[in-house]
Amino acid sequence: MKNGKFEFRVGFVLTGIILALAILSVFYTPYDINLMDKASRQISPCLSHLFGTDNYGRDVFSRAIVGTRFTMLVALSTVGSCTVIASVLGLLSGYAGGVVDEIIMRLIDAINSFPDILIALIIVTILDYGKYTIILALCVTFVPSFTRIIRTATIQYKNEVFVRSLRVMGVSDLRILLVHIFPNTWPRLLSTIVIGLSNAILAEAAMSYLGLGIQPPTPSWGRMLQEAQPIVYNAPWVALCPGLMIVVTIVGLNCIGEGLRKRYLT
Amino acid sequence: MRESLQTGNKHTKTGPSRYVPADSPYWEADDNVVLSAEHLTLHVRNRDGSASPAVEDVSFNVRRGEILGIVGESGCGKSLTVMAIMGLLKPDVKPTGGKIIFDGRDLLALTGKEREAINGRDLSIIYQEPMTSLNPLMKIGKQLGEAVSLHEKVSKEEIRKRTLDLLTEVGIQDAEACMKAYPHQLSGGMRQRVMIAMATICKPQILLADEPTTALDVTTQAHVLDLLKRINREYGTTILFISHDLGVINRICDRVIVMYAGRICEAGTTRAILQDPRHEYTRGLIRSIPTRDRKGEDLPCIPGRVPPVEEKKDPCPFAPRCGRAMDICRTSAPSVRGCGGGHIVYCHLYPVKGKGEKKGGIA
């Protein structure tokens, strides 16, 4: 328990299930996700439709596992690009200090001072709907926290004796920064990435739910929840499957994040 | 004090075994003993879940009114021993054997409530870094005052007077100003004095001092050592003093225990240990310190390194670094041997006296 083994195990099993389903959906889905069948509208969960069907007679389970792909794509590309941008900004800001640090941090503060959803709204309004817009919007809202974490770690290592001794050895600043300081920030960065993934999934779901995300008929978890909302009293199972997928993924990722934190940061 | 160390001739028990209970011939039980450790063994949990002995089979008596030093290098278990006495062991350190007897009770078996009644009142501790034990956001006067009012119900004015007295007693010249200061505004020496004042509010029977002067400059260190000696003399407070510095030990201690890798190597009066060390480790330690007449020559230092706690050690943990190690050192742990005058050594090089032999023979 001490090394976070338990958390890792739970986390990997839960996210593993979701990932397996996502991969499965590429090759096989129980039903065509866009097949609308008037005869089978709002069927409650049964053996042929594991999680029932929606208002148009589409199989909820099939749509949910296909939706995983989109949600994952958005989350991964958001966190990925965010990590790259934040690494550059954070390392620069932390190591250079002074005016550079001041400028970068004030920019970050500026972004932080707007509510995230407002920023997303503005970006979507300007750029029109689409997955790249979502990714961009999420990225802008995520960069500040990532940058701060890398900057803090950089400052911490900048003051370590080994960095001082590398300077005395004559090693260039760039090399100290990239070869010696950056890898030391990875443990912290890794747990931030994992938690960031779960936040991105939630944020994507929220945006899709508000109608800012992906447009129909492509399924995504948030989108499906939105579609389930009007009929939630007649057919609550329509919301169940995507909701469950979100919960499982978030719990899984958070477990991994906690495991990482316990292993490397304590 | 020294006279009381001379062992009597009441030895009737069987010859020394591997274990040295407090009632062994070399550690004569007398009325003067305030605290005794008997076969104390502590295990530390390693990262992989296994446990390694960090303190093994440590037995000693602390006599009323003495300053007893425990000296050793990092990882020798000296601090853990003190923490075990105070009941402040971290959760990954577990007492796995032995007893610590104080006031007729085993300190290792106390409940939380009983422990609270003893700590601070009968036993008190000061640490190497006083900053960690002081609240950085509270003025010295208030912190000390709170400590005073914890133990006695007195008026505000009385508390203030007591606090001032306490600070003056530990040699702080401008006590008024000190009371108004925050911990970070004081120098290291002043902070340590404040800690000593706080630790001695209740005039504890035993004051445990865990490297209290290591972080201080040599001149300040000398003053703090003098202060501790004064407290010992004036209030009769027994002091258990932990240090890695033989010089500091020489300045303050009546008796010394030398520890290495969790075990006692030798113990005796300060004079005996420093002038006539018997254990090869103590000898090596003393030889390796640069002094006035060693300039220009190589220091005859002990080869090798202090074994980490988790490493499996020989029965005599010093055997791998010892120049005079014998086969037996790697197969059986040395029992205690007396050298007279209360000087004992755990080493196979010295003869174990037979059953029923008088102490005089050993001395």
Partner: protein, 321 residues
């Protein structure tokens, strides 16, 4: 000042250093505290020079200034190069350092070999293979063996790590090494091994060393000359024997009586030669603790040579000598 022969490897001339402290952000009031006050010293080739003083006296600050890690006023030249005028790369060929805490002096995520090769890479010395060989040879010289190159710092004990640090400092064959409390964090028996290592390596190859320590015994043991620092200025400087066995400044004497001594028995009751009085601004730095101070000491004394004829220079900053 010492005779300025061209053979001096380090020359520190009138170096002062300030640090500012104060409140938060833009409301910060610039309060300048002087750490180093007009420090001058020279270290000759192949000389071991000891710098002693209490914590906060500025001895480490001087070391960092010489290494170019902090700003200063004055001139510092190493092997004829002015730190302010040459690049870090050029400067570091001549000067290397060993720091106090071997625990944090090595990058925890890099192997010993990688860290030890860093200075060679930085100065484009040798091919990768040659570097490996140089590291292996250096590891042996500092009392380890080539297999250590593949290990990580966490697998080594404090003494072994300090050996690695010394090896990394020596690998460029610098002319000057700054050792800042290099043995202070180590256990007594391990510290002795490191002191011996410094001595044997010095025999094998010539270099000068500025050995900074709070421990006068260690400095005396290792060094040829000693300077004693108090509150940012040098109060006494001379050969190790002169300073240690015939101390002149009251502060040096105080230090010597305060050193914990395990050999003499009367040490237990030794009294410190110290008298406290309220500090007076602009006075001799030691005024408030000096047992001999008079009104004359309310000015700052100069560093003056007190050596007898035929003896080596022995500088003291005191009016009454």
């Amino acid at each position: 000042m010492n005779g300025k022969e061209s053979g001096d490897i380090l020359r520190v001339e009138h170096v002062s250093n300030y640090y500012s402290q104060g409140g938060l952000g833009i409301l910060r009031k610039q309060e300048k505290n002087q750490v180093l006050q007009d420090v001058s010293l020279t270290i000759g080739r192949d000389e071991f020079f000891g710098l002693v003083g209490e914590s906060g006296c500025g001895k480490s600050t001087l070391g960092n200034a010489i290494l170019g890690l902090i700003p200063y006023e004055g001139t510092i030249t190493v092997a004829g190069l002015d730190r302010a005028k040459v690049s870090r790369k050029e400067f570091t060929r001549h000067i290397q350092a060993v720091f106090q805490d071997p625990l944090s002096a090595l990058n925890p995520r890099k192997t010993i070999g990688f860290t030890m090769k860093e200075p060679l890479r930085a100065h484009d010395i040798g091919t990768e293979e040659e570097r490996d060989q140089m590291v292996a040879r250096m590891l042996e010289r500092v009392g380890l063996d080539a297999s250590y190159a593949a290990r990580y710092p966490r697998e080594l004990s404090g003494g072994q790590r300090q050996r690695v640090c010394i090896g990394a400092a020596l690998i460029l064959q610098p002319e000057l090494i700054i050792a800042d409390e290099a043995t202070s964090a180590l256990d007594v028996s391990v510290g002795a091994q490191i002191l011996n290592l410094f001595r044997t390596i010095d025999v094998e190859r010539d270099f000068s060393m500025l050995f900074i320590s709070h421990n006068l015994n260690v400095v005396y043991y290792l060094c040829d000359r000693i300077a004693v620092m108090y509150k940012g200025s040098i109060v006494e400087m001379g050969t190790a024997d002169a300073v240690y066995n015939d101390p002149l400044h009251p502060y040096t004497r105080l230090l010597l009586t305060a050193i914990p001594d395990f050999e003499s028995e009367n040490y237990k009751d030794r009294q410190l030669l110290e008298r406290f009085r309220p500090p007076s601004p602009g006075s001799c730095a030691f005024y408030h603790r000096c047992p001999h101070a008079t009104d004359k000491c309310k000015k700052v004394p100069d560093l003056r040579n007190k050596a007898m004829k035929g003896e080596e220079e022995h500088l003291v900053r005191c009016f009454y000598l």
